[in-house]
Amino acid sequence: MSRSIRLALGLIVALPALVRAQAIGPGFELERSGRYADAASVYFTTIRSDPTNIPALLGLERTLFVLSRVSELLPLVQNARARQPDSPALRSLELRVYAALNEPDSLEAIARRWAASAPQSEAPYREWGLALADRRMWDEARRAFLVGRRTLGGDVLAIELAELEQRVGNWEASATEWGRAVTRLPDVEPNAASQLADAPAPMHDRVARALTAPGVSVRTRRMASEVLLTWGQPNEAWAAMEPTLATTDTEAPTALRRFADLAGALTTPDGHRVRGLALARWADMMPGSSGGRARAEAVRELLDGGDKAAARRVLEAHADSNGIAQAALIHLLIADNQLDIAEERLSAPATAITADDRATLRLALARARVGRGELDRAAAALGNDSSVAAIAQRGWIDLYRGNLRNAMEAFRLAGPYALDRAAATDRTAMMALLQRIQQESSPHLGAALLTLARGDSVAAIAALRRAAARLPEQGGRLEVLLIAGQVAAQKGGDQELTAIALFDEIVRIGGEGAAPPAAELEWSRLLVRSGRSAEAIPHLEHLILTYPNSAFVPEARRVLERAKGAIPKS
């Protein structure tokens, strides 16, 4: 067939629709400009020549309603319906016209007649109910839907009933109907969950109970879990979800993944925990690498959620074959302070842990040993690792043993870039302190710093003060006292007085090093923090004027501005 013939046939087929649209085009334009009476005239003209023109009849429905002339539409719709009795659009329109005319009896009669002509169809009952609902005749609309349900059986018209109950404010009933709807039609679930998520807070408990009542379907419970997640109730959500996983079904992976994704929006520990639980279950259903990745993510989430036991269970179940899982498990054991078990697993000859992971774990283990004061075992954990990170860690071990010379040498060898920025800053600060000290060895200082590293702040303050007393005033004493003061200031409470005494001592002694301006700045900060800004101001001014070239001056100016209220708090 030639192109021109195909085009001609196409035009012939499309012509009636085109002509209909063109006929009412001016009516649309008049409607848009608010000239409803003129628009209605155009539609009437169209109907006279084409009585079943549905766009024109719908145009009349809109315009005559605005003009309060709906009664003029009824004979036209009846005529059209008589010509096309099988047209659902005309049947619906007729129902709406009766509803607009406030004739519920006629409306019901027409709906039942339509239902009789289509005995298996939900449409007559749906349109009957919707026409009434549009008129805000809630009880009548509910009755219409329920008549349909009784007639057709099952949970038909659940969506319509759910939406009706929601509009009325019966959230509990709406939840029940949405449960029926998702049980029957799984594709409805996202919309149902989204609708129920809008329930006002006082109704949350009732809605949740309706969705998790005994006997509800698996799909309903899963919908409940989504709704609960949206409301920020992760534990309740998991409680709704978990029982649905007892038996495997084809929808479970999708439901779990969706649950995990929704839980990802929650930043609370419980949110992380339930996301981890969902991911772990999902990972078990997934084959190969995607399952492994999900499991690793699950462990991280469980740890973020503070559930070490669950994280460990996940890892132990899969640690034999997977290097990442083995490494994660050892990390977990170290974090749990089960250092011997961690060491044993790390030393096992046949593991899949990579060399990089092994080095990282050795460092973590060494740090954990230091935290327990086990310096020899910490050194042993590092083995013969010659990386800069291990050298830096050996420096700390030397320092805690009191061997200042070796510590300084190790820090120097490690350089300024080993490990992260915070660790590098700590090393640099310690090197600055060690440079002020002439002695090669100071077991007292090492022990004091170890006490501090182990987290016993109060004992560390006392030990640092004792160690400082053994050092010359301009040979490290002020710097060690500064550390003690900083620890005391951070500790707060009763220790603030100790901090102030220490800062006072350092400032009074003064001298060349960085300690006096640093102490004066810390002192001022402490005063500002405790609401004594007026007392801080002279200290800050003293610092700025006495040590104009100190690196602390810019920060001192900033604190001074704050103390004076010249810049906003940020």
Partner: protein
């Protein structure tokens, strides 16, 4: 301070400054450079202000090293500068050379003598947006007094030399946030506070009160006051003045719809800077008229930000605008405000344009005289926060000590301090 006397003074000083001064030659001085050598441009204004507040004499060296200041070399001022991180340079012997350079170039030296008394027109509560002028004053350490409608209506303005208008909507429509931010507690408080104040002061509606406040401010300037306004206060005070007998407020503000012929009834002869503007009648659009060039809340009318350039005036002939544009940068990135800029075709003849965006139909920074006083309007909200949103944290000026935009604000604070010496006849 009276503007006419001030202008005479400046003219006289320009003439007098060619005569070697005894004062200049014997008192050691500190130069406060305002070019890129300065370590804190904004605080330098505060240092100079405090010097003249203490009764000392200072000079503003217009166009010399970015508009530097000369202050006496005293221990107290050195201490002040050191504490605030302000760079100063002793210039005893070099001053003769400096003055020679000033005489030979487009520069001038203006004496600063009387520290102006500064008032900031702002509601007593904290609005959910920052105020650039308040922050600049606080950061520089220049004291100011907050006043509001009751103080204005009881005649307190006469006690101040310089008045800054906070982001007030003088049309009384709460910046047209009433419908957009309906339900927000800060808005409810703003409405309540304004309504209560209007009732207490005997006005039927808030728009009536604001119109009256605007007229009082107009009189204050006419009697010799210095007015500085930013952001929406610029546009709305002129709208309020022009609408003295017309309802331009939406129904939510005064209970009555705005006059459909409002545009035609506006009396622009009463306004400071603008003429011929058309009112934005949509209560849902937080824009007031077509005076603003950028229309930040005007939907499709919104214009992107560019950069504005300061005019270079003749220091010896036009000292006032020269003072207002002293800066170490001539081109400054633009910043939005509820009113960002001013369309050129809405400016009254005779308004001095201090800064503009080249090639754009709008200008940024304008100045003019009214009676014995002067006014300056600066479009935009916060020079260091080009897109400041409601609820955003206030700008920390310690992070912007060289801000050229904030310098323009502080130029305005200090220029009323310029010495007025009667022209000898």
């Amino acid at each position: 301070m009276k503007r006419r006397a001030f202008l005479k003074t400046v003219g006289a000083y320009s003439f007098a400054s060619i005569i070697p001064s005894f004062h200049h030659s014997i008192i050691p001085s500190l130069l406060v450079p305002m070019d890129d050598a300065q370590t804190d441009h904004l605080k330098a204004y505060g240092l100079t202000y405090r010097a003249i507040q203490a009764g000392l004499k200072a000079e503003w060296l217009l166009n010399y090293r970015g508009g530097s200041f000369l202050i006496p070399d005293l221990d107290a001022l050195r201490r002040d500068a050191a504490l605030n991180g302000i760079r100063t340079e002793p210039v005893d012997s070099a001053m003769t050379t400096v003055r020679g350079e000033i005489e030979a170039s487009n520069m001038d030296a203006v004496p600063l003598e009387k520290a102006p008394k500064v008032a900031v027109y702002a509601p007593p509560n904290a609005a959910p947006w920052d105020d650039a002028v308040t922050m600049a004053l606080q950061y520089a350490g220049i004291p100011f007094t907050k006043i509001w409608d009751p103080e204005v209506m009881t005649g307190s303005l006469k006690d101040y030399d310089w008045l800054h208008l906070h982001h007030e909507d003088f049309t009384g429509q709460y910046s047209k946030f009433f419908l957009i931010y309906s339900g927000m507690s800060w808005l409810a408080e703003m409405v309540q506070r304004n309504s209560d104040t209007a009732k207490r002061l005997g006005f039927q509606t808030v728009p009536d009160l604001k119109k009256s406040v605007a007229r009082s401010i107009h009189s204050y300037v006419g009697n010799g006051g210095f007015l500085f306004a930013m952001c929406t206060a610029t546009e709305t005070i002129d709208l309020a003045l022009a609408a003295h007998d017309v309802d331009i407020a939406a129904t939510f503000a005064d209970g009555t719809p705005l006059d459909p012929d409002a545009d035609a009834k506006l009396d622009w002869s009463q306004a400071f800077a603008f003429t011929g503007g058309h009112i934005e009648t949509n209560p849902l659009v937080a824009s007031f008229s077509d005076i603003d060039g950028h229309q930040v809340n005007g939907g499709a009318r919104r214009q992107p930000l560019g950069a504005f350039k300061l005019f270079n005036f003749s220091a010896k002939i036009d000292p006032v605008p020269t003072m207002l544009v002293q800066n170490h940068r001539q081109v400054i990135p633009d910043f939005y405000g509820l009113t960002t800029s001013f369309n050129r075709n809405r400016l009254k003849p005779g308004v001095t344009i201090l800064a503009e965006e080249e090639g754009a139909p709008w200008v940024k920074y304008v100045h003019g005289d009214l009676g014995k006083g002067t006014w300056t309007f600066f479009g935009g909200h916060d020079p260091e926060d080009p897109q400041h949103q409601i609820g955003d944290p206030a700008t920390d000026l310690s992070l912007h000590p060289h801000s050229p935009g904030y310098r323009l604000i502080l130029n305005n604070v200090l220029f009323p301090a310029a010495k007025k010496k009667e022209l000898k006849t």
